[in-house]
């Protein structure tokens, strides 16, 4: 089936089955490999994208459910104020190790910060516990989210 979806502000046309997960449309059909495959079952968060600003697991999101929604991926999340702050904090706190899960972590963290500019530890747990990091960067992810929140409060 032919679908026309809005990804990172551009109309993209793809011809796939209606139940094809958005993840594979992004990665394989459109070649946008920043969004990662981890589990295929919404258990790890590596494939997280934003659909109308909401953190969503693209591996279980059928293409026919996207409709006219705006899909945002790691490739352009830095163009949003929260995304830019999160990416900067990630670099400043040296969060990254292997990095494979970090696209998803950053998408989840950006969604959190967009909706809650001053998250508590419990808020961070709630928003981030769907994202697995096998390298164990959690302590630094927590620190980076707090730094990004702080820089937001300072208008940075």
């Amino acid at each position: 089936m032919l679908f026309s979806i809005n990804i990172n502000g551009e109309r993209r046309r793809v011809d796939v089955d209606d139940d094809t997960p958005l993840l594979w449309v992004l990665r394989d059909v459109l070649g946008m490999t920043g969004t990662k495959f981890g589990c295929g079952a919404a258990l790890c968060g590596a494939c997280t994208v934003h659909i109308d600003g909401v953190a969503t697991r693209s591996c279980v999101t059928p293409i026919d459910s996207v409709g006219t929604s705006q899909v945002t991926t790691i490739e352009t999340i830095g163009e949003t104020p929260a995304g830019a702050r999160i990416q900067k904090a990630w670099l400043e706190r040296e969060v990254v190790q292997c990095g494979y899960c970090q696209s998803g972590q950053i998408m989840s963290a950006t969604a959190l910060l967009s909706q809650n500019p001053n998250p508590s530890d419990a808020d961070i747990d709630d928003a981030m516990s769907g994202n697995i990091c096998r390298c164990g960067t959690y302590p630094r992810i927590r620190a980076a989210i707090k730094l990004a929140a702080q820089s937001g409060r300072q208008g940075g």
């Binding site: 796939v16 089955d17 990665r27 790890c44 490739e75 292997c98 390298c135 927590r142």
Partner: protein, 725 residues
């Protein structure tokens, strides 16, 4: 020159070269992480450049390219190794380019393993001298070229920040200006290295060089390879190891839109499609009948029973001190225990994958591998091609932990590619990744200690059974029935134990492939020895830290980290009910590490690790921020194993499938991890795996402190902790 961010040689149907570059420059780093150049282009690129060795290339355009003989899988090698080179080459870390080394066992051998591989936490140890020498040799030649041009004594020149300076005449030349002349000079025979007191970079918390692309989606892992004309495949392998494919009905799969081809192998089926979505849908539509083969009845319990029986007979003596049998017979009291650790999967976040383009006379492979030369050799064999006809393009690695020291995935992908016209990317589903891993072995220990009438330990006898990964992976290192990995940290304990014997009984489990895992041997041995040391302290009614301390007369570095960890953790301070502290002390990977874990055991037996304090002596520290990060990560990796990690076998099948049944610690469960570094100028020790092994007994010992229940089998079983106290 290569430019990975342009994804040269790949078809990116949606993201243009321009958009990738725009994204990459937005990240604000000067670093471009280069892909391994195809052979022809590498030669072209090296024309007009100065390449005194296999690691350093300086172009007359000023480009500095460093080729990384060790891979980056998160452990910070692509920062630590450039620091070693840059320290002696006198360049900054900005504006350098990194390249993955191609397979070449001669040029890029790991001197501590004897093969081209990254593992055993020894990249910095292996690189410490040769990579500083590589930088120094280049600098000496550049200085020589400048001195020659100026007609002055090289000793009157100095190098600084990518330039050679002659202070007396206030002349200076950049490395770019000197590159071609330097290339004509002989490589120096003698390469003096800086004393530690002169280090500018080594010892500083330099920023990682691989982060920019990892936060904006442009970093390229093996799974992201996209050669032109690529097809996508996923596979089902016989759920019982050693079984065969009996029959497959692919009628429904072939009808799936986007499915191109069904590939049948002896023990697997693959679906090739236009994208992974179609491949997965096709795979689900296959009706497969397996012949389960000889291992159809295998169970974890049968393997454990076999290991238990194996420890009833003597094994190969790995270390003998004094007269342990006699001392044990004369001991006033003794304790005996059996310890067990389970099979574990690696569960790297990047699932197993390999992209292959096999032609009649050549083969290209895109992969993220800890051992590219092994991939090349095994893929060549599978393809029926000479080794030199197989090009391996290595990538950033989305988690290694030993899984990617193996080439089984590349072999499998080549088998599939043999039946596919054009390049094919084979991606394991998470379920296939977990159910067809090569597992951290199951090990079983029978261990005893004897005490004299004053409660001093007089005898230690440990006999353990399990496989030897080394015997398969690196046969020359398996000698006289022993391998250095299986016994690491079971022998050469830091403690004064006058009568001591450790025996290894090699038993290979049927039908379960085993492999290295983060911390491998020590991940088993440190759990056993440090849990048992804790039992010994309890048996003689001594404090766990004081007891250990009394045995560390010969190990001042171990004593120092133990004291530091105890002090920082507030050892001995009161804790609430069902909270406890546990300590573990480890000498492994040439580093000394003490860990104190603080746990809370809920009424229902659930264990929460609240706080972890680490004190590490890993000799000279190259990058203290990496040391901290690796201990944080290593501890969480080990805590995951302690609390949840277990692969079990029923009817020959791995029972776990995905992250619901193979649980990984998450943000809401992760402890705070403090790291304290003992600074000195001893040679560097390993760091990447240290926390993983040390945290497991620290948690088990903390649970004992909290509940009085001693856990001798991992992972933690909450039901054993419910009724305690």
């Amino acid at each position: 020159m290569s430019d990975v961010l342009s994804r040269s040689g790949e078809s990116g149907p949606s993201l243009s070269r321009r958009s990738f570059l725009a994204v990459s420059s937005a990240a604000g780093s000067g670093l471009l992480l280069g892909l391994t150049l195809p052979a022809g282009r590498a030669e072209a690129a090296s024309a007009g450049s100065f390449a005194p060795n296999a690691f350093v290339r300086i172009g007359s355009d000023g480009t500095v390219v460093l080729t990384m003989p060790y891979v980056e899988m998160g452990q910070g090698t692509y920062t630590a190794i450039p620091m070693l080179i840059a320290e002696e080459l006198e360049i900054g870390l900005n504006d350098i380019r990194l390249e993955h080394a191609p397979p070449n066992e001669k040029l890029y051998v790991n001197p501590l393993l004897g093969v081209q591989a990254t593992g055993n936490s020894n990249a910095v140890r292996g690189a410490w001298k040769p990579l500083r020498e590589a930088g120094a040799a280049a600098r000496i030649m550049l200085v020589g070229a400048a001195a020659k041009r100026w007609g002055v004594d090289p000793a009157t020149c100095r190098a600084e920040n990518g330039r050679v300076l002659h202070d007396a005449s206030q002349r200076r030349l950049t490395y770019a200006e000197l590159a071609l002349e330097a290339a004509s000079l002989p490589v120096p025979a003698s390469i003096p290295l800086k004393p530690a007191s002169a280090f500018k970079l080594i010892g500083t918390p330099a920023k990682r060089l691989d982060t920019a692309g990892k936060v904006n989606g442009t970093a390229v892992y093996g799974i992201d390879a996209r050669p032109p004309g690529l097809k996508f495949a996923t596979l089902a392998q016989c759920p019982v190891f050693g079984g065969r494919l009996k029959h497959v009905d692919d009628t429904a799969a072939k009808a799936v839109s986007g499915v191109r081809q069904i590939v049948r192998l002896d023990d697997a089926v693959a679906v090739v499609a236009d994208h992974m979505g179609a491949a997965k849908k096709g795979l689900a539509a296959l009706v497969i009948e397996w012949d389960d083969g000889p291992n159809a009845a295998l169970s974890t319990q049968a393997i454990a029973d076999d290991l238990g029986n194996a420890t009833l007979k003597p094994g190969t003596v790995a270390q003998l001190i004094g007269e342990p049998d006699k001392a044990m017979a004369q001991a006033a009291t003794r304790i005996d225990a059996i310890y067990e650790v389970p099979f574990l999967a690696h569960a790297t976040m990047e699932p197993m994958n390999c992209t292959v383009h096999l032609r009649q006379d050549a083969c290209d492979i895109w992969i993220g591998s800890q051992a590219v030369a092994r991939v090349q050799a095994m893929a060549a064999k599978a393809a029926g091609l000479p080794v030199e006809k197989v090009a391996v393009h290595n990538h950033l690695i989305g988690g290694g932990f030993g899984r990617r020291l193996e080439a089984d995935g590349a072999v499998r992908a080549v088998e599939i590619a043999k039946q596919v016209d054009g390049p094919v990317k084979v991606v394991w589903t998470r379920e296939e990744d977990i159910q067809h891993d090569m597992y951290r072995p199951y090990w079983l220990d029978r261990i005893s200690a004897g005490f004299d009438d004053k409660g001093r330990p007089v005898a230690w006898i440990n006999r353990f059974a399990g496989p030897s990964v080394i015997a398969r992976w690196l046969p020359p290192a398996f000698q006289n029935g022993l391998d250095p990995d299986s016994t690491e940290a079971a022998i050469d304990l830091p403690y004064d134990l006058p009568n001591f014997r450790v025996e290894f009984v090699r038993r290979e489990p049927p039908g379960i492939p085993t492999a290295f895992w983060r911390s491998v041997g020590p991940s088993h041995n440190v759990f056993v020895t440090e849990s048992f040391t804790d039992e010994m302290a309890a048996a003689v009614k001594q404090d766990a830290v004081a007891f250990r301390r009394s045995l560390l007369g010969k190990s001042p570095r171990a004593r120092a980290v133990l004291d530091l960890a105890a002090e920082k953790a507030g050892w001995g301070a009161a804790l609430p009910e069902r909270h406890g502290r546990g300590v573990a002390l480890q000498h492994a990977f040439a580093s000394d590490l003490a860990v104190v874990a603080e746990v809370e055991v809920a009424v229902d037996g659930t264990v929460r690790v609240r706080r972890v304090v680490c004190a590490i002596d890993c000799g000279t520290v190259v990058n203290p921020d990496t040391v901290e990060a690796q201990l944080q990560g290593g501890v969480i990796f080990g805590a995951t194993a302690a609390l949840y990690g277990e692969v079990t076998i029923r009817q020959g099948r791995v029972e776990q499938t995905n992250f619901d049944s193979y649980q990984i610690m998450r943000m809401n469960e992760a402890p705070a991890v403090e790291v304290h570094i003992v600074k000195n100028t001893e040679p560097p020790g390993g760091i990447g795996e240290t926390g993983t092994s040390a945290i497991v007994p620290a948690i088990a010992n903390a649970i004992f402190a909290a509940t009085g229940t001693r856990l001798r089998k991992m992972p933690v079983q909450a039901n054993l902790l419910k009724a305690a106290r």
